[in-house]
Amino acid sequence: MTDPAAPPEESVTTAAPAEEAVTAAAAVAGTSTTLDVVAANPLRDPRDKRLPRVAGPCVMVLFGVTGDLAKRKLLPAIYDLGNRGLLPPGFSLVGFARRDWKDQDFAQLTHDAVKAHARTPFREEVWKQLLEGIHFVPGEFSDDGAFDALAMALAEIDQTRGTGGNYAFYLSVPPKFFPLVVEQLKRTGLADAPEGSWRRVVIEKPFGHNLQSAHELNEITTSAFPESSIFRIDHYLGKETVQNIMALRFANNLYEPIWNRGFVDHVQITMAEDIGIGGRAGYYDGIGAARDVIQNHLLQLLALVAMEDPTSFDAQALRREKEKVLKAVQLPANLGLNTARGQYSAGWQGGEKVVGYLEEEGISRESITETYAAIKLEIANRRWAGVPFYLRTGKRLGRRVTEVAVVFQRAPHLPFSKDDVEILGQNALVIRVQPDEGITVRFGSKVPGTAMEVRDVSMDFAYGESFLESSPEAYERLLLDVMIGDPPLFPHQREVELSWKILDPIEEFWATQGQPEPYESGSWGPESANAMMARDGRVWRRL
């Protein structure tokens, strides 16, 4: 945390009028989100659990407001936060884009986005509160004048809205613009927090496309912002079910004794999508499934499932455990036999005829980008040695599902006749991340009848189902955490780099392998992925 403690009370009253306006405003507003100050608040009490965490006064500056993510997720999430009473009084939203727009045009865009995608019902008074704080600054990222205008607009908002010089810059723009924007923020002094206020920057994946580029990207960001002010969003970590992994593992005594190599046979982590690349050809081609999904989402899930218990849930303790386990990840010696990649070909997906990857608009006919990737990893520590972790992701697969399946070893001895347990599989504990969030336990049970036939059955826990209407979107949680300055759910640069260290050798190997194996759209991936499992005497779960 760079936020210094709040200014002493006297400075509130003694702030000389001659002083710079920004400083005065900052002094008045103080740093409401510093945890020390919150602790000193006489109206707060740790026992008072009804009171939600509310962000302190601040401005969210959104670069790339016309993008898909802004319209579908960010703007609705901001409204939903307001609707739940979690936005601070005076909260302001500034849009920045290359459009010849006025404030009301941006307000209109926000209004439409909220109407179309907000999770909570539209309420006039909430909209009114939000509308008062909406501003728009037009301009190019290379235009110095536009950023000077932005700096002036922000100083004015501090005056009129009492936001105290606290700004969060959300870069919802392609990574190639990062250097430009960050440089401009540095030049205009917007990246430097005056005494008693904070500046934070939020960046989205991809965090580079290999270790080196991730490192360079980080150099750029850290040249303007300290690491503690950089928030890397991996929206998976904002999901209720993902946080529930930690509750499941560390709040219960039931699972921990069997959560190790003594009982676990292997772990399968899957993120399957039924859609193709849609309109993302420009981004996706050359990146591929592994960089797009495995490097961030799946390795983060792996870290949460496999890490040791953190000493507490603060950012430092949590990140340390995740880093430890990522460091312990080992690649198989023979990458050819223990990885698989594929590219979807034309076929039928869910009753619709769809084209293959190479026929997609904007994709070169010779593209060797993979749309399916499966890899086998091992974790070299006492808990997991010898337990393979299989990670797979793909587009145009049978259906959309993300899950973590912990598959247990077979019972050491079965006191039944061989025929009776023929169809008995392995016990499994499945954390269903999306859709249909919840937990499934698979175990053997007697089939009713006179014979002692044993077969697999599933027991479902569907807390998630009941949350359908009220479960906050991941982005709501994460945006609130940014404004509060609470970083546990954001990956640290070290985690990003460790993940690239895992993936880079695989990508380099794949680059030498030519065309990925085609698989039919709507199927569950290429044959080589099944062969990879078969060599280990295992099979992918049918999802």
């Binding site: 109206l43 008072d48 659990k49």
Partner: protein, 304 residues
């Protein structure tokens, strides 16, 4: 949704019927997390059940509604079972006649879900000591509603304080959460010393004196309660060095926050539905010590 009526029945038959219905529907066994017992009069039944079912979307529960009918009639138990799409979990409405009205717990107790929390809710009149009530004694959490006492709301809070036991709470308190949250957010920026304050609300609003009691408990100063045309709570003013911190809401929807040296700011502060209040109540099932402190302080200073 399947509705099933049982006339002149017993708890055992109701249980059996639930199992039967669940099997018939292909076992929609959502993991239910608690049992909510609603004790009310026939006239409150529709609204209370609706609010409870809405809240059950967040907290899948078995909802047992207990309605005491004529004491003079012969002893009888009628039940209405609902299970299906619009109600996550299960609902049973019990109507008790005759001497059975004195022994509702004997019907409710076998219908509670095993080994999960029990919450009792009185949307209207509630017993003086909820924890000593036959049904209240079955519950970990007992929710009363001072507003259910019509004109007697404020005085009922004195009764609540006298009969307080761990796990008691009142919806008049839950209604304050947005106000308290906004005030606490305003205090996140240091405000210095508070000298005195005022809470204004419509006449007889039981939440207003609770808010005043909470503020005065936390800030250690006297907070006056004054009448205003409403609706609900309209104003909180706190006197500070160099001015006043105030939250003013006259339309029950949008409030204005003012503080010295800063521009006025509008904040959405809408009144909430009972279902939202119930969902909030069910989120935490441990005892609410902040409520206890506020309601007891109110009772100490109340000059009815």
């Amino acid at each position: 949704m399947t509705t099933f009526m049982l006339s002149d029945t017993t708890a055992g038959k109701i249980s059996a019927q639930f199992t039967h219905l669940r099997h018939q529907m292909g076992a929609p066994a959502i993991g239910m997390v608690l049992t909510l017992v609603v004790v009310c009069e026939e006239r409150h039944q529709y609204d209370a059940l609706r609010a409870a079912s809405e809240a059950a979307r967040e907290h899948p529960s078995r909802i047992i509604v207990v309605i005491n009918r004529e004491v003079e009639e012969p002893i009888r138990l009628d039940a209405e079972l609902r299970i299906g799409e619009s109600t996550p979990g299960e609902v049973v409405v019990l109507r008790l006649y005759g001497e059975l009205t004195q022994h509702a717990d004997s019907v409710v107790s076998p219908l509670l879900l095993p080994d999960t929390p029990v919450v009792a809710w009185w949307p209207g009149k509630a017993p003086d000591v909820p924890s000593k009530d036959a049904i209240g004694a079955l519950a970990q959490r007992r929710i009363t509603d001072a507003r259910g006492f019509d004109d007697g709301g404020v005085t009922s809070l004195v009764t609540r304080a006298k009969g307080y036991a761990r796990g008691d709470t009142d919806l008049a308190w839950a209604r304050l959460t947005p106000w308290r949250s906004l005030l606490a957010a305003a205090f996140d920026q240091p405000v210095g010393k508070v000298y005195e304050g005022v809470v204004e609300a419509s006449s007889g609003n039981p939440s207003a004196p609770l808010l005043a009691a909470w503020l005065s408990e936390r800030l250690g100063v006297h907070i006056e309660v004054l009448e205003s045309p409403g609706p609900g709570i309209t104003t909180v003013r706190l006197k500070l060095d160099g001015g006043e911190l105030s939250v003013v809401r006259t339309d029950a929807r949008l409030a204005t926050l003012s503080r010295p040296g800063q521009p006025d700011r509008n904040v959405a502060l809408a009144r909430r539905h009972t279902s939202e209040l119930m969902a909030e109540e069910l989120r935490r099932l441990d005892s609410d010590e902040i409520y206890e402190a506020a309601v007891k302080r109110f009772a100490r200073t109340y000059k009815g």
